[in-house]
């Protein structure tokens, strides 16, 4: 199966269709499964359309009646009004759920298209908005009806999904069923009666009667049957790929939708980056104010007192001078800790790999650092990577109960890849606890992703991937 259609980043990533008889048979099975999905789509389409049509009809009839009869209310009128109200009520109840189900179906189609048809299809949905107002303060993620509907209806992708239901219903089934029907028809109408006419096989004659046409000898019947089955099997994978192509044609988000999604993501990560940046600056300001600055003030006072005492009481003056010296050492220690938290010197000196080795040495756990990472990454990425690993190792030490951890660092296919794994209790959940969320936010600012795999009972494996250049 060659891959001739439109090349590009979105080109087929799924496994190639398996050649040979089993693969072709499997393709027919997949076609049938997709047909099942198509039927489900038809039901959804009915659910979507029925309330809208009902409401529209009710409104139309009501208005027509009013126009023809003047403003009169009678039984006829009540029926139309009832239809209108019922339609609206159904819209209220059914539409959001049906639209969301449509979206799931479209996502499933995308996945299966990549897996079965070898045609990958991108998706670009507007992310779920954060609930506004009091709902947000209560920490609820559920949206109100209005918000939900405006989110769904304003997303072009929603309409694309609905369009897919329609197109699927009109064209899709032909592609899916044609090969299946050919095989089925070939077997039932020709192969079985043909075989029945062969001497010694008359047992099967009860199954089907041969079609009547001139010259239908068993040989001809068998030949036509074999040809049809072969044709069905042969075109199965092609039709499946065609179906994938059709799905891609309809479901691929427009450039605009993709860009809109990108803008949305960028705006969000920028907001979060600015927020964390500001919070960090406030923390540094507070640390300096309460720490080093206060100590320097105290030192100034002590030195002043020593100056006043130096003639009258040299011994006391000396004691004060030593006190000032110790205060300066403490101020230095605090500044050192502060600097470590802002940009660890070893990171600036040596880059990410050695900085993480230093981190591993300071960890209470046995931490192994593996993987090839030669060369330097952009400074912001190094910093994000360092603090992410620092946070993850701290998490391991605090929560997992593990005695050892592994950090693997590498740069491949244009991305920094960090894996932190431990043999602890597992059950790490990014939705609870701010640590993992913070790490995810940190890497999101660089279009990076964090993937957590932590089944209860362990082991926990956390993957970080940040696109960047290695120099």
């Amino acid at each position: 199966m060659t891959n001739g259609v439109a090349a590009g980043a979105r080109e087929a990533t799924g496994p190639r269709l398996r050649p040979g008889f089993p693969g072709r048979l499997l393709a027919l099975g997949h076609a049938l499964a997709l047909f099942g999905l198509l039927l489900a789509g038809a039901v959804l389409l009915a659910l979507l359309a029925a309330p809208v049509i009902l409401a529209a009809l009710g409104l139309g009839q009501f208005l027509k009646y009013q126009l023809n009869h003047g403003l009169a209310f009678d039984g006829q009128d009540a029926r139309d009004l009832f239809a209108l109200l019922l339609g609206l009520a159904c819209c209220r109840l059914v539409l959001p759920a049906a639209l969301l189900a449509t979206r799931r179906l479209a996502m499933l189609t995308r996945r299966l298209s990549a897996q079965w048809c070898g045609v990958a299809i991108a998706a670009a949905y507007t992310p779920v908005p954060v609930p506004a107002g009091p709902a947000r303060q209560r920490g609820r993620r559920r949206l109100g009806y209005q918000q939900r509907m405006s989110w769904l209806l304003n997303d072009v992708s929603t309409w694309r999904d609905v369009l897919w239901l329609v197109v699927n219903l009109i064209v899709g089934w032909v592609l899916l069923l044609a090969p299946v029907m050919m095989v089925g028809f070939g077997v039932v109408a020709f192969l079985v009666p043909g075989a029945a006419a062969v001497p010694g096989m008359d047992g099967v004659s009860r199954w089907a009667t041969p079609p009547a046409f001139p010259g239908n000898t068993p040989t001809v019947l068998l030949a036509i049957g074999v040809a049809l089955v072969a044709l069905g099997l042969g075109t199965g994978p092609v039709a499946l790929r065609g179906y994938g192509g059709l799905a891609r044609l309809v479901l691929t988000p427009s450039r605009e939708a993709e860009l809109a999604l990108r803008v949305e993501q960028l705006a969000q990560t920028r907001r979060e980056t600015l927020d964390t940046g500001a919070a960090e600056l406030r923390r540094i300001e507070r640390d300096l104010h309460d720490g080093a600055q206060a100590r320097l003030v105290a030192m100034g006072l002590t030195l002043d007192a020593a100056g006043r005492l130096i003639d009258t009481d040299p011994a006391a003056a000396r004691a004060l001078l030593y006190e000032a010296r110790d205060a300066s050492a403490r101020a230095l220690a605090e500044l050192r800790d502060l600097v470590r938290g802002i940009h660890p010197p070893v990171l600036a000196d040596r880059g990410l790999a050695d900085a993480i080795r230093a981190l591993a040495l300071d960890s209470p756990l046995r931490v192994g650092v593996t993987g090839p990472l030669d060369g330097r990454l952009p400074a912001p990425v190094e910093s994000a990577g360092y603090f992410a690993v620092s946070e993850l190792l701290a998490n391991v030490a605090k929560h997992s109960g593990a005695g050892a951890a592994e950090v693997d660092l590498r740069h491949s296919s244009g991305s920094l890849r960090i894996t932190v794994s431990d043999d602890g209790a597992g059950g790490a959940d990014p939705s609870r606890g701010t640590g993992l969320q913070g790490v995810a936010r940190r890497v999101a600012a660089f279009d990076g992703v964090l993937v957590v795999s932590s089944p209860a009972g362990g082991p926990t494996v956390i993957n970080l991937e940040v696109p960047c250049k290695l120099s």
Binding site: S328, R336, V339, D349, P364, G403
Partner: protein
């Protein structure tokens, strides 16, 4: 005793020169970058080199790398590295050749002139002087130490950590308020448990410290 100093901040360089000269050292050269330091070490062949980790032109670990390079050129050259911060990683790199005569101290330690010059002398004599902070960070999580260190008793570990700081048996005895003979007994036990063959005592001390830092 001849000293070469590499420190880029004028005030600190000046202070170091005055401090060392006040304690009877002779400063044969004081430079402010890695290249000049290499040249000074080559021409002066000092008894000890005092180097700041961060030096121009790169303002990264230039000084440390220069120190390691100088050690490769002149094996056993005593080196005392000063830094605003200490990393176990760097301590290991300095100790890696197993020859001793290495110090790694926070810059704050120059505040106490007597102690600082003491450390300089110790390193020049082939001993080690690890900053207490390096040791403290090691101690913070070496309770579950595995391997040969796991065989040491808590007291022996205490003695070993003081040894790593570079203290003599007498100093350790004073610190732990025991007799010097008791300390000698502990050190002998440490050497045995760490499988260090009897050779000259100084070298064994360095090796014991290495085992300790090598975890």
């Amino acid at each position: 005793m001849q000293v070469v100093i590499a420190e880029d901040l004028f005030l600190l360089r000046d202070g170091l020169i005055r401090l060392l000269e006040a304690y009877g050292f002779e400063v044969s050269a004081a430079v402010d970058n890695g290249e000049d330091f290499m040249a000074a070490v080559r021409s002066h062949r000092p008894d000890i080199a005092v180097v700041d980790v961060r030096l121009p032109p790169s303002f990264t670990d230039e000084g440390l790398r220069a120190a390691l390079r100088a050690r490769a050129e002149q094996p056993g050259l005593p080196i005392l590295v000063l830094s605003q911060y200490v990393e176990q990683l760097y301590a290991r790199e300095l100790l890696a050749d197993g020859a001793g005569a290495v110090g790694y101290l926070l810059k704050d330690r120059v505040f106490d002139g007597a102690q600082f010059t003491d450390a300089v002398k110790r390193v020049a004599d082939g001993g080690t002087a690890m900053d207490p902070e390096v040791i403290a960070r090691l101690l913070a999580h070496s309770t579950a130490a595995e391997g040969p260190l796991g065989r040491l008793s808590p007291r022996e570990r205490e003695v070993l950590s003081l040894m790593a700081e570079g203290r003599s048996n007498a100093a350790i005895a004073a610190r732990l308020v025991v007799t010097e003979r008791a300390v000698a007994k502990h050190t002998a036990a440490i050497f045995t448990k760490l499988d260090l063959q009897p050779s000259d005592d100084d070298n064994r001390r360095v090796l014991a410290v290495l085992a300790y830092l090598g975890r």
